[in-house]
């Protein structure tokens, strides 16, 4: 059942939250998606002070483990935070609980958010409900599979490159990354501050719209948070797309298999039948090819600086004893995996005076050109769309987080919306070799209402609403 339909008595609500917690525990041996299961008794008691008409009243939810929860272990799936108990809630946790949500657990992720497979989590890989031999995708993999497998209708993630939208594609659910600044990041462990967004997963467009009504809004504790009013996204997501102009990225369609092309073309024909104006658009190929490099350089440079506070002294797991240098070095060596330390070395290389012009500054200049190219298209169209991936989730033993040039454009282009800050989401629509693949939609900044409206039209024609892949 999706969440907007859940208006039930207090007793039923309590049962529902407890059932969700039990189901989360039951699927754990198969999916390995949870880092921590939360106690719900106190939260259910607190519900007595919440209006039963609150938007998420009694809703069981899970949070990615980089979102600070007061008194609850928050590891970001890294050993260095293996004992970290936050003393405050992230802004969004307070908002969700004020809206009646019940947090039943914290979910696995790529270590510190720095990956796209969920293979780097300290608690091991997360498995895909559609094929347990395949990855969940990352970095918000645990949250994605909890929604996909029907444990919860709504889960929080974060998206720095495509960390919500790619796992959404692999798991046949909706993944939303709103406009930069639309949701406060206060209390969310950062990765790369100029690219980081809070995002989330649902199984219906209406729920995606409702979730943003709860999550969005100004927070003085996040300087990048927007003052723009929060809209009634649910009311505006009617699926009426007459005259809506949609650009399909031709560069990506050219690389798609016939199987995926056929399904994409069928969907576009259905949108045309609803009155939408759909055209293929070619974007600058050199700029698309540069997306991964821009992302890799900027994100690693920013991460190197952001994670310098993980020292094993003020919080986190501590090793060493002879001196503060000994403590820091041993704590950081043991606390970060090889992959993360490797990324930090690359980030440090890019930040070094002699390399900054060639790496970081160059990447930041190309970032501007990529954003200008996006805005050229968004100046003529209401939305840019393309498959979120050319294939379903890869097999566990056939993928890694090593830097790769394979499928350079099609598998890495979604970080454009992190460069620009524009809202972007993935919605189920196709299968390739029997595995789900989502469609990515990107609109202009703060036009989430338009994005959800187009998504609703797509959901209406595909019928892929509230799809659950049970694993029990």
């Amino acid at each position: 059942m999706d969440m907007h339909m859940m208006k039930m008595s207090r007793v039923a609500t309590e049962m529902h939250a407890r059932e969700a917690l039990e189901k989360a525990k039951a699927v754990q041996p198969k999916l390995n998606a949870m880092v921590t299961f939360c106690e719900v008794d106190e939260q259910l008691e607190n519900l007595k002070n919440i209006d039963t008409n609150a938007k998420l009243y009694g809703m069981p939810i899970v949070l990615k483990d980089n979102i600070n929860t007061k008194g609850i272990l928050t590891t970001a799936s890294s050993n260095i935070l293996g004992n970290y108990i936050p003393v405050y809630n992230a802004h969004i946790v307070d908002k969700l609980q004020a809206a009646g949500a019940i947090v039943i657990g914290k979910t696995s992720m790529d270590e510190l958010g720095m990956g796209g497979t969920n293979l780097s989590a300290a608690t091991g890989p997360v498995y895909n409900p559609y094929d347990l031999n395949r990855i969940s995708g990352g970095s918000s993999g645990g949250s994605a599979v909890m929604v996909s497998s029907g444990v919860v209708p709504f889960a929080l993630g974060t998206d720095t490159g495509d960390s919500v939208r790619k796992p959404a594609s692999y798991n046949n659910i909706i993944g939303v990354k709103p406009t930069y600044g639309r949701i406060s990041r206060y209390g969310v462990i950062p990765y790369a501050s100029s690219l980081d967004h809070v995002g989330y997963f649902t199984r219906s467009v209406r729920d995606a719209a409702l979730a943003l009504e709860v999550l969005a809004g100004r927070d003085d504790r996040d300087m990048t948070s927007s003052y723009l009013p929060v809209e009634e996204y649910t009311a505006k997501a009617t699926g009426e797309v007459s005259g809506v102009k949609v650009a399909v990225i031709k560069n990506i369609m050219d690389m798609a298999s016939d199987e995926l092309k056929t399904q994409t073309n069928t969907l576009m024909e259905q949108l045309r039948a609803k009155g939408a104006v759909v055209e293929e658009v070619t974007m600058n190929e050199d700029l698309l090819k540069a997306c991964l490099a821009v992302y890799f350089v900027i994100s690693n440079c920013e991460a190197t600086a952001n994670h310098s506070n993980l020292d094993g002294i003020r919080f986190g797991v501590q090793y060493g004893e002879n001196s503060y240098e000994d403590i820091m070095t041993k704590s950081r060596t043991a606390g970060f995996s090889t992959l993360i330390r490797k990324r930090f070395v690359i980030g440090s290389f890019g930040l070094a005076d002699e390399n900054q012009e060639r790496l970081l500054r160059k990447a930041q200049k190309v970032r501007r050109l990529i954003v200008e190219e996006m805005h050229r298209v968004l100046g003529e169209f209401d939305a840019i769309v393309a498959p979120a991936s050319l294939h379903g989730a890869p097999l566990l033993d056939a993928t890694s987080d090593q830097l790769s040039l394979e499928y350079l454009i099609a598998e890495n282009y979604m970080c454009m919306a992190n460069f620009s800050g524009d809202p972007s989401m993935t919605i189920p629509y196709a299968t390739v070799e029997g595995l789900p693949v989502g469609l990515n939609i990107t609109c202009s900044a703060f036009n989430e209402a338009g994005m959800f409206n187009l998504a609703k039209a797509i959901e209406d024609v595909t019928g892929l609403c509230d799809v659950v892949k049970e694993v029990l």
Partner: protein, 97 residues
């Protein structure tokens, strides 16, 4: 010295206050080979006269907040996650023996 020399990379790691094994450093060297190919794609793009884009939105903040105490972390909370705390301080090994 090769710019991706193992000892140079080890120095970068140590500056960031962690160690890497020889095997890990060889892995970093291999990644730099791929990164170089990526950088070639960046270098192929003419950025003459283009300003760096640091953040998605570039509207300047033109106001200052009121100088009011808000959102304070108590000393007790601030010390809760430290391994060793005494009185109001986090305790580290002596620097001067």
């Amino acid at each position: 010295m090769n710019k991706y020399d193992k000892e140079f990379l080890r120095k970068l790691a140590n500056q960031l206050m962690f160690d890497m094994t020889d095997e890990e450093l060889e892995n970093v060297q291999a990644e730099f080979v791929v990164l170089e190919k990526q950088l070639e794609l960046l270098e192929a793009i003419n950025t003459d006269g283009v300003e760096e884009m640091i953040y998605p939105f570039e509207a300047p903040t033109s106001f200052m907040r009121e100088d009011e105490v808000d959102n304070v972390l108590s000393v007790e909370d601030a010390l809760k996650n430290a391994k060793t705390a005494r009185q109001d301080f986090i305790v580290l090994p002596r620097v001067v023996k």
